[in-house]
Amino acid sequence: MRKQLDKNLSFHKLVAYMIGLMTAVHTIAHLFNMEWYNNSRRGEYDTLSTALSSLEDTDNETYLNPIRSTSTTPTYVVFTTIAGITGVIITLALILIITSSMEVIRRSYFEVFWYTHHLFVIFFAGLVIHGAGRIVRSQTTTDPPHNYSVCKDRSQDWGKIPECPIPQFAGGFPQTWMWVIGPMILYLCERVLRFIRYMQTVRYRKIVIRPSKVLELQLEKAGFKMEVGQYVFLNCPAISQLEWHPFTMTSAPEEDFFSVHIRSVGDWTQKLISMVEQLPEGAQGPKMGVDGPFGTASEDVFDYEVSMLVGCGIGVTPFASILKSIWYKFKESNPKLRTRKIYFYWLCRETHAFEWFADLLQVLEREMEERGMRDFLTYKLFLTGWDQSHAAHVMVHFDADTDVVTGLKQKTHYGRPNWDKEFEQIRKEHPTSVVGTFLCGPQVLAKTLEKKCVKYSDVDPRKTKFYFNKENF
């Protein structure tokens, strides 16, 4: 059931499209509505319509047509009613939110997207107030009751004959707040929680600058508990008061601290690394707020008998946490461990930014050999950014025991994996198991792997089944 929550971003976008569509329909409907109300007030339609529109707002009359004046325009009416003004303002907020959420803007200028998205506060506030003017009116029962079939053609006799007292109308009670109050309270709770977590002290246990401008931070926070593959949001007030950036944790839950590996990619990360480089030895880093941990699909790795982990480029980080956790579980020889076999595929253009990860793999490889459990973890590294000189280098060192690029026993493959072959092999080796496939990488690869999972799964419960899980970033 939790798998459904993995697709929360897709759901959010679907709801947003629906809100956009319904706003358009609602607005167009009101455009016609206002125009026809105005025409009716000016007596351009039939007698009944004119009579109803002429009902005044006095002691024994209640009006139906919200347009009271006979010499006004729909535009003027819209801008002088609560419903009209809030409608225009929140539609504008919605349009700004939508244009700044286009993929182009979101991927390139995240701050614009993030700050503009906060206009949703105005959207919801306006939405709740939108009906306060009660201009949508319905007929109330009078005493004696107004007989519609008799009186509709005798509007001049209303109030003068017993069957036709003057019809009375009243505005509807605003109800939008009933729908949105639940989610609004939940959101408020989340922001309050983030603030509370921000106020908690975070201590630096260790700060390491790794090759290729990667910063490793080992942090401690009271009462912090994590699962494998989860991520946290970091906020550094010295760099920016308002920005919270997500980072996958690279430490295992069995450790008494949590770590993140931060690569220098944009403004915030570059500033953080340059600040940390100037610190003296052993000093504490800048004040850091930590929100989280938040879960992703990768938490479920150990629930499967056989797990297939695919990490693409920077997407390899959650698997660092998982692999470290495996190592700890080995040391403790945890009998409750359901997982019997893990296949790990590491795809990247070049390993420069990930030497720290290659080191981790080397340590694991040694550990497993010592314990005679070489078969637990099978990993394959695919370098997709090879060229002639790479190929020449590899050809010369073909007979060496360890790989030239990573120093691992397992040889590096070049190019992209042949997924059909991989799935076929796993199916052959585990003919009766449930295999969990976990991907952290680009959308294109996600689609490919999802198709393969479906293709190689069998309806028969005794045979192999592949379940696909994806982590977004």
Partner: protein, 186 residues
């Protein structure tokens, strides 16, 4: 926030405004509203703005993503030279185009959205941005046939000399038979 190119967002906003103006105009004309002439203007202006804003400009930093099928319009917009590449002109144009939309309810929303787009374009112009067309790069295609005729520049990769040298312990392995008989020319 230093790296943002405002023109990219202004472009999205202006395109959206054009569509909204167009829709409002269609509603006004189809419903035969009072002052429908302004709605007719909305249709015309909306179409014009959509055509103008559809081709995305080239980004200063990073990869530019084209919209589907924007090449023809890129050529048209490029043909107007400085009028379309200067964002001050675009800001003024959108500010002027939005005014008639304010006179009638269906086009009011398009008017306000266009005014906002005009302001963002003004911010882009102040920062010195410009509209550059995204054109496919004309590469000089290497004639593969030519390079094959030239002799190789580098030797093929081979292991270091010590390994290649024939060792006296391994005479059997060192010996080989020539595939072509080696005799003097007769």
């Amino acid at each position: 926030m230093g790296k943002i190119e405002w023109a990219m967002w202004a472009n999205e906003q202006a395109l959206a405004a054009g569509l909204i103006l167009l829709t409002g105009g269609i509603v006004g004309v189809a419903g035969q509203f009072r002052d429908w002439e302004f709605a007719a203007y909305g249709v015309a202006a909306g179409v014009f703005i959509c055509l103008l804003e559809y081709p995305r400009g080239k980004r200063n930093k990073g990869t530019s993503v084209e919209r589907t099928g924007q090449y023809c319009l890129t050529v048209c917009v490029k043909a107007f030279g400085p009028v379309t590449s200067n964002y001050y002109v675009r800001a003024a144009l959108h500010a002027a185009l939005c005014v008639p939309g304010a006179f009638m309810l269906p086009t009011v929303l398009g008017c306000v959205c266009l005014a906002i787009a005009s302001l963002i374009y003004l911010a882009a112009a102040v920062r010195g941005e410009q509209w550059q067309p995204i054109l496919p790069k004309t590469e000089t295609r290497e004639r593969v046939g030519e390079s094959i005729k030239e002799p190789p520049q580098n030797p093929p990769p081979r292991p270091p000399a010590e390994l290649r040298r024939k060792r006296p312990e391994d005479l059997e392995g060192a010996a080989y038979v020539n595939p072509i008989s080696v005799t003097a020319n007769e």
